[in-house]
Amino acid sequence: MKIKSLLKRNFNHQPRLNYPDYKSSILRAPVRKKISLPSTISEICGPVFNCDIIGKYDNDLTLNFSKNKSSPLGHKILIYGTVKDQFSNPIEGALLEIWQANASGKYLHPNDNTLAPIDPNFAGCGRYITKPNGSYEFTTIQPGPYPYPNRGIEWRPMHIHFSIFGRSFGQRLITQMYFEGDPLIKLCPMVNSIPDEKAISSLISTLDTSRSSSKNILAYKFDIILRGINQTYFENKKEGL
């Protein structure tokens, strides 16, 4: 008999749900402790997405919404890395979906009331399915920081949102990637809801000059780790033996 189970989540490495410095969490974060349960087949076996959903420009945000071959404003960046599990196995076929503000810090979204201008050539959405070695890459523009109401007006550091599916519902991850050297990172309550410094640093992409040289593009590396899945084998014992 083969039993698969997800590695238990290390909540010291995850953000606090109840984090009043982030005001929106006050009325939304559950108060009672989550009930911890062993994985069942339901948490392990999918969903998995087919490569045929991905269009040619889905991972190039500088092209996938451009009109008449006009470029969006801002400087071009390459975001790349690998998706692996906690045992360091690359995850093939992981679906990454990203969304971000434009160079002025504006989202193409009806709920974004900031005064910054929209960019007619930039939607800010992209997706990708990882290669057999777990690798992914996006071409986009540097998102701007932007103000939002929290404890008065505060500024979000430059960031890109990532939604990731591995091979199972229990591996699901939604996070944000930040940029090395941004002074707004350490002021951000959403970042600081993570109690562990090392965990925070794992969300900060690093500048990679070796891939930045060609094509007028700055490269940033961001690796993603999803939960590991253990497999254990048990002998089926017969009654009375």
């Binding site: 982030y22 979906e97 709920n111 944000q176």
Partner: protein, 193 residues
């Protein structure tokens, strides 16, 4: 076989924020022409209407206000309790005016776990939104099924007496109601899966 040794910590979550529709359901938002279809519109596209059920409800915050900026994802088996990698996943959000979501799907079957023990029919549900630093996980069971032998419900009952927040109520022909309370006296049971 010995379990492998963990080498890395899982990447931390961050809130999905208020603008996740851009990345996860752009066509719904009116950003057309990039993705042909949004993912998870129909969990089982080939089913006919007689086979379908509707699950409807709202997500409430600590003031018992129904939210319209939450994002829900579900994952389930087919009616025979079999999982298919490409079918059974759905994404949806509450209606802006009624503040109610509605999931149109098929009734899941009783699912046999790795150890051979049957689980009662259920749907996995994950909730993400602005104000939630991590996505929340729970399960939807159905009140008209036999729930007595379900291992998860039995375990949860040992910790909390009342498991009714995990059970959808039948409110009509093939229609169920399932509300989610993020906080307060009626706080839903959330699971560390």
């Amino acid at each position: 076989m010995e379990p492998f040794k963990k080498k890395y910590e899982e990447t931390p979550f961050q809130t999905a924020g208020p603008y996740l529709h851009i990345g996860c359901m752009p066509n719904y938002l009116g950003i057309n022409g990039i993705y042909k279809n949004d993912i998870g519109i129909m969990p089982f596209p080939n089913k006919i209407s007689e086979e379908l059920i509707t699950i409807t409800g709202s997500v409430f915050d600590g003031n018992e206000e129904a939210l319209d900026d939450v994002f829900l994802e579900t994952w389930q088996s087919d009616t025979n309790g079999k999982y298919f990698e490409n079918h059974g996943f759905a994404r949806f959000i509450p209606n802006k005016i009624t503040k109610k979501y509605s999931l149109i799907t098929i009734k899941p079957g009783s699912v046999e776990n790795f150890d051979g023990i049957k689980q009662s029919p259920h749907i996995l549900l994950s909730i993400s939104s602005r104000g939630l630093n991590m996505s929340l996980n729970t399960r939807i069971y159905f009140e008209d099924d036999d729930l007595t032998g379900d291992p998860l419900l039995s375990t949860v009952k040992n910790v909390r007496n009342d498991v009714s927040s995990l059970i959808a109520k039948k409110i009509g022909n093939n229609t169920y109601s399932f509300d989610i309370f993020l906080q307060g006296d009626k706080e839903t049971i959330f699971l560390d899966i």
